[in-house]
C-alpha cells in the first residue's frame, strides 16, 4: 500500500522523465542498425553495422572528422578557460572583503543568465570586421591596428572558447567559491599564524578543498563542449560551413536543414551521436563517481 502511494507521487514526473530522457536511448538503438533516410522514411531495411562503417567513408568521413577535430580543439581550449577564468576569479573573490563583493559577483555571473544564442550574436556584434563595436573601440584607442575578423576560421578557434568561457566564468567561479567557503576559518588562521605563504595555502588548503568542484567543472565542460550549439547558431553556424562543430553537423545530417546538400541519413546521424557521446557519457559517469568519493 505504501509502495503504491509512493508510486502515485512519483508517477507524474517519472513517466515524463523516462519517456523524454531514457526512452530516446531505447528507440535510437534499432535506428542505428537501419538505413532510415529521414523521419518520413517508410522503406526501412536492416543494414547491420553498415552505419558505423560509413562514418569512415566518403562523403561523411571528411566533414565528420573535421567537426570532431574542431570540437576537440574547442574542448581543450574551453577546458583551459575553467582555469583561466573560474579559478582565479574564485580565489580573488575569496580574498576580497570589500562591500562591492556582491556587486562584483552579480556582474560576473550575468553572462550565465542570458541565452547561448545571445552570446554568439554578441560576439558577432563586437568583432565583425567592419561593424564590430569592440573592434571600432580598440581601433580608436590604438590597441589594434587592424580589426579582428571573427568570421575567419583561425580567429573563431580562439574567439569561441574565449566567449563561451566568459559565459560560464560566473558559474565556475560560484562552483569553486562554494568549495572555498566551506573551509573553516580556523584552518586558515592557523596556517597564517604558522607562517604559511599564500602559495603554500593554495597548495595544501585551497586546492584540496576545490578538488571536487574541479571534477564537477570538468564533467560539465566535457559534456557542454561537445554539445556547443546555441552560441554557434548565434554566430550563423547553420549557414556557414566553417562553423560546423559536432553538434551542428549532427543537426545538419539528422534534420537535413541548413547549407549544402544532405550528406547522410537519419540513421547515420544517430549512429554518429552514439559513437561520439557514449564514450563521453561513460567518462563523465566515472568522473562523477570519483567526485562523490572526493566529497566525503
Amino acid at each position: 500500500m505504501d509502495n503504491l502511494v509512493d508510486l502515485l507521487f512519483l508517477a507524474p514526473q517519472y513517466i515524463l522523465y523516462l519517456g523524454l530522457t531514457i526512452l530516446p536511448f531505447i528507440i535510437a538503438i534499432p535506428l542505428i542498425f537501419q538505413n532510415r533516410l529521414d523521419f518520413m522514411d517508410t522503406d526501412v531495411e536492416f543494414v547491420g553495422l553498415n552505419n558505423f562503417v560509413s562514418l569512415f567513408q566518403p562523403p561523411i568521413v571528411e566533414p565528420f572528422l573535421k567537426a570532431i577535430k574542431r570540437t576537440v580543439v574547442f574542448l581543450i581550449l574551453n577546458y583551459s578557460t575553467v582555469f583561466l577564468y573560474g579559478i582565479p576569479l574564485a580565489l580573488l573573490m575569496y580574498e576580497l572583503t570589500a562591500k562591492f563583493k556582491k556587486t562584483f559577483f552579480t556582474v560576473i555571473y550575468l553572462p550565465y543568465i542570458i541565452s547561448g544564442l545571445g552570446i554568439g550574436m554578441l560576439l558577432m556584434m563586437l568583432f565583425s570586421p567592419d561593424s564590430g563595436s569592440m573592434n571600432l573601440l580598440l581601433l580608436k584607442l590604438g590597441i589594434l591596428d587592424k580589426p579582428i575578423d571573427v568570421k575567419d576560421p583561425n580567429i573563431v578557434v580562439w574567439a569561441l572558447p574565449t566567449i563561451v568561457g566568459w559565459r560560464y566564468a560566473g558559474f565556475n567561479m560560484a562552483l569553486f567559491l562554494s568549495g572555498l567557503l566551506s573551509i573553516p576559518v580556523d584552518t586558515i588562521e592557523a596556517s597564517v599564524v604558522d607562517g604559511a605563504s599564500y602559495l603554500k595555502r593554495l597548495r595544501y588548503i585551497y586546492f584540496p578543498q576545490m578538488m571536487s568542484s574541479i571534477v564537477m567543472a570538468t564533467i560539465f565542460c566535457l559534456i557542454g563542449s561537445f554539445g556547443v550549439f546555441d552560441e554557434l547558431v548565434g554566430m550563423g553556424a547553420l549557414m556557414v560551413p566553417d562553423l560546423e562543430y559536432f553538434a551542428i553537423l549532427l543537426y545538419h545530417v539528422g534534420l537535413s536543414g541548413g547549407w549544402g546538400s544532405k550528406i547522410g541519413t537519419l540513421s547515420q546521424a544517430i549512429t554518429m551521436s552514439f559513437a561520439v557521446y557514449l564514450p563521453l557519457i561513460v567518462l563523465a559517469f566515472g568522473l562523477n563517481r570519483w567526485q562523490k568519493k572526493l566529497q566525503y
Binding site: 523521419f39 552579480t106 556582474v107 562552483l175 554539445g227 534534420l255 551521436s273
Partner: protein, 357 residues
C-alpha cells in the same frame, strides 16, 4: 555574500609578530590590487551589454562608426521612396497602407509626398507614422512584428507554468525519495542523476521522433512544457535533500491526527518547501527562458519562443543589424531585470553548491 561569510583574519591579534605592521600594509595593498582586477573584469563584462543597448539605436548604415552613446537621428523625410523605406527600414507596406487607409497598389517608386497628394493624406499624419520608425528603427520593427508579441506571451506563460508545475512534480518526487526509506527509492534517485551527463544534443533526434511522430505534438506548447517539467538531476537533488531535513515528528503528528499521505504532502511538505523552491526557480528560470533547441525542433516559426524568434530575425532582417540587435536586447531585458531584482537569491543559489550534489 556579506563579509560575515569569510571574516578576515585578525592580523592585529598578533602584535608580537615582528613584522605585523609591515604585513598589514602588504595585505592592504593586495586587497586594493584584487579589487582593481575584479573591477576591470566587471567593466569588460558589462561593456558588451552596454554596446548592445547602444547598437539597438544605431542605424545600420552608421554601424561602421563607433558610437558610445545613442546617436541623434533626424526624422523621416517625405522625399524618401516608399520602396526604399520598405527595403532599408523594414517598413511593413501592408501595415502602413492599413494605417493610412489605402487599399490600392502603391508603387515602390513613389515618394511619400506623392502618396500624400495622391490619396489626400495630410503630410503630418505620414510623418507622425514614419518618424519613430526612422528614429528608433530597430525597436519599432520588432514591436510592429506580430510574431514578437506571440513569442513574448508564449515564453512568459511557458516559463511561469514550467516553474510551478515543475516544482510541484519535483516536490512530489522529493517527498517520496527523501530519506531513501526503501531500496528502490535509491534506484529512482540515481536514474534522475544520470540526466546531468546526458547531452541534450545527443537525444535531440530520437526526441524529435517521440514528440513529433509518436505523440503528435509538433507545434504544440505542451511539448515544451513537458520537456521543461520532466525533472532532472538538479531539481531532484535540491528538493530531496531539503525535504529529508524536515523532522519526522511532523509526519508522525499527521499520522496521529488520522491524516493520510495527501494531508502530509499538502499541509506540511508544500508549505515548508519555500527555500528549495526559491533555489529551484533561480536555477531553472534562465534555462526555461533561454531554451532555444526545443523551440526550433518542436515549434513552427509562427509559434517560436522568444530566443528562437530572435534567431529567426537573422533571416528576416538579414541586412538590418539594428533590428536584430534590438530583438536580442528586448529578449534580454526581462530576464536581466529579474536577475537584478532577485540578485540575492541568484547569488545564494549559485553558491549553494546544489549542482555538486
Amino acid at each position: 555574500m556579506s563579509a560575515s561569510l569569510r571574516p578576515k583574519p585578525e592580523t592585529g591579534a598578533f602584535p608580537s609578530a615582528p613584522s605585523a605592521l609591515d604585513r598589514n600594509r602588504k595585505r592592504k595593498l593586495a586587497k586594493i590590487a584584487i579589487g582593481f582586477v575584479l573591477f576591470v573584469y566587471c567593466v569588460v563584462t558589462i561593456l558588451p551589454f552596454y554596446f548592445l543597448f547602444i547598437r539597438s539605436f544605431v542605424p545600420t548604415r552608421e554601424s561602421t562608426k563607433l558610437h558610445m552613446w545613442i546617436p541623434e537621428i533626424e526624422g523621416a523625410s517625405l522625399d524618401a521612396g516608399f520602396g526604399n523605406m520598405c527595403a532599408y527600414y523594414n517598413l511593413n507596406p501592408d501595415q502602413f497602407k492599413q494605417e493610412m487607409g489605402i487599399d490600392d497598389y502603391v508603387s515602390p517608386g513613389n515618394t511619400f509626398r506623392d502618396i500624400s497628394k495622391k490619396y489626400n493624406i495630410p503630410e503630418e499624419k505620414i510623418l507622425n507614422y514614419l518618424n519613430p520608425f526612422v528614429r528608433f528603427n530597430g525597436w519599432y520593427v520588432i514591436i510592429k512584428n506580430k510574431i514578437f508579441y506571440h513569442s513574448l506571451t508564449a515564453t512568459v506563460l511557458l516559463t511561469i507554468a514550467s516553474i510551478f508545475i515543475g516544482a510541484l512534480f519535483s516536490i512530489a518526487t522529493g517527498s517520496v525519495l527523501a530519506g531513501f526509506r526503501k531500496k528502490w527509492h535509491m534506484f529512482v534517485y540515481n536514474s534522475y542523476l544520470v540526466q546531468m551527463i546526458i547531452p541534450s544534443i545527443m537525444i535531440m533526434l530520437p526526441l524529435y521522433l517521440i514528440i513529433n511522430k509518436y505523440l503528435n505534438l509538433y507545434d504544440n506548447y505542451l511539448a515544451i512544457l513537458m520537456l521543461n517539467v520532466k525533472g532532472g538531476a538538479l531539481s531532484t537533488m535540491v528538493f530531496t535533500s531539503y525535504i529529508a531535513t524536515i523532522p519526522s515528528a511532523l509526519r508522525e503528528s499527521v499520522d496521529i491526527d488520522g491524516g493520510n499521505r495527501f494531508h502530509y504532502f499538502f499541509r506540511i511538505i508544500l508549505p515548508l518547501s519555500k527555500v528549495p523552491f526559491a533555489t529551484y526557480v533561480a536555477i531553472t528560470i534562465p534555462t526555461f527562458w533561454n531554451d532555444f533547441l526545443n523551440g526550433i525542433l518542436f515549434l513552427s516559426p509562427e509559434k517560436y519562443t522568444l530566443v528562437a524568434f530572435v534567431n529567426s530575425l537573422q533571416g528576416y532582417y538579414a541586412s538590418n543589424f539594428q533590428a536584430i540587435f534590438s530583438g536580442l536586447c528586448i529578449s534580454l531585458i526581462p530576464i536581466v531585470l529579474l536577475y537584478m531584482v532577485f540578485q540575492n537569491l541568484f547569488v545564494k543559489s549559485a553558491l549553494s553548491g546544489a549542482v555538486k550534489g
